[in-house]
């Protein structure tokens, strides 16, 4: 029992959400039950809200900085007292949201590895329809073995 608890303590990636370029939820997986369980409906709302907020934060870039609109970025890291949310946006507009423990190091590496898995198992899957929910066993298997090994 103690071993099991320790193992749970060591896993610090809470969950992964993938949002397509239109703000729709295409994938979500919980790895650690530290965060509240929320219904799929609420999760869809969350994905849409985050998509909108991401766009607003991009336009909130102080104009005195003189950064051209193309180079502005939206939220990259969000911190709360219980978790940290790292957002990685690909060039095509897909967003990867990784919820981790507040002090988890190397989140960038993890998120890039997840992107790699996505590119390999989802985008190269001939049966995958773009912008649709991801139902791909190989991707989930790869994801699980990578995150669990952390």
């Amino acid at each position: 029992m103690n071993m099991l608890l320790q193992e749970l303590d060591n896993m610090v990636v809470y969950s992964l959400i993938i949002i397509n370029k239109a703000g729709g939820l295409v994938f979500n997986r919980d790895f650690n039950p530290a965060l509240n369980k929320i219904s799929v409906n609420d999760l869809l709302v969350l994905a849409g809200t985050f998509h909108g907020v991401h766009a607003i934060t991009k336009s909130l870039t102080p104009s005195s900085l003189g950064i051209p609109s193309k180079e502005r970025t939206g939220i990259e890291v969000l911190e709360s007292s219980q978790f940290r949310l790292t957002c990685f946006q690909t060039f095509t507009g897909t967003k990867f949201l990784l919820f981790t423990e507040p002090h988890q190091p190397n989140v960038d590496t993890i998120i890039h590895k997840v992107y790699e898995l996505y590119a390999d198992y989802v985008m190269k899957n001939p049966f995958y329809q773009l912008e649709m929910p991801i139902r791909c066993e190989a991707f989930e298997r790869g994801l699980m073995s990578y995150i669990r090994a952390k």
Binding site: N36, T73, F99
Partner: protein
């Protein structure tokens, strides 16, 4: 560290204080285009200070609710960072919201915002008998001492 702006919102989502700081001379990274075309998009120019405050409130409101939903009612939204700026957030138990926008290298400013609340807002605004409790028409904090205090606080203790 560089402070870009500072906002205070009351519990009715009204922006009761906002202040923007101009960048220090020479710190602007704007480069004139060779063909003489400005790279600023007109849409961002059209944003007035009021629009900015509304957008900031919308953002922190959504993010706060998102954080509460995921982390439980005791969880607090602290800050977010984009590639170019960082927004710090502090909410008092009475739902007053303090927001400060700084450069990305700044550490957590929660304590600083708490200090502004305790030593400036409470001292000069709450304890001022002439200061309105509610701000129905966006009257805002009309208190010279508070404004002076914030100004001094930011220029002296932060911009070094």
């Amino acid at each position: 560290m560089v402070v870009y702006s500072f906002y205070v919102f009351d519990r009715h989502a009204e922006c009761i204080y906002k202040k923007k700081w101009a960048p220090r001379p020479g710190s602007s990274s704007r480069v004139p285009q060779p063909n003489g075309v400005s790279d600023d998009q007109p849409q961002s120019k059209a944003l007035s200070a009021e629009d900015d405050a509304k957008l900031v409130f919308g953002t922190i409101f959504s993010l706060r609710n998102m954080v509460r939903k995921l982390g439980g009612p005791e969880d607090n939204f602290i800050s977010y960072r984009t590639g170019h700026y960082k927004l710090h957030y502090y909410e008092t138990p009475t739902s007053l919201k303090f927001v400060m926008v700084t450069d990305t290298k700044t550490n957590n400013l929660r304590i600083v915002l708490h200090q502004i609340y305790v030593s400036l807002y409470v001292e000069y605004v709450v304890k001022n008998p002439l200061s309105p409790v509610e701000h129905p028409e966006g009257a805002g904090v009309n208190c010279e001492l508070f404004e002076l205090g914030v100004e001094q606080f930011v220029t002296a203790s932060l911009q070094n």
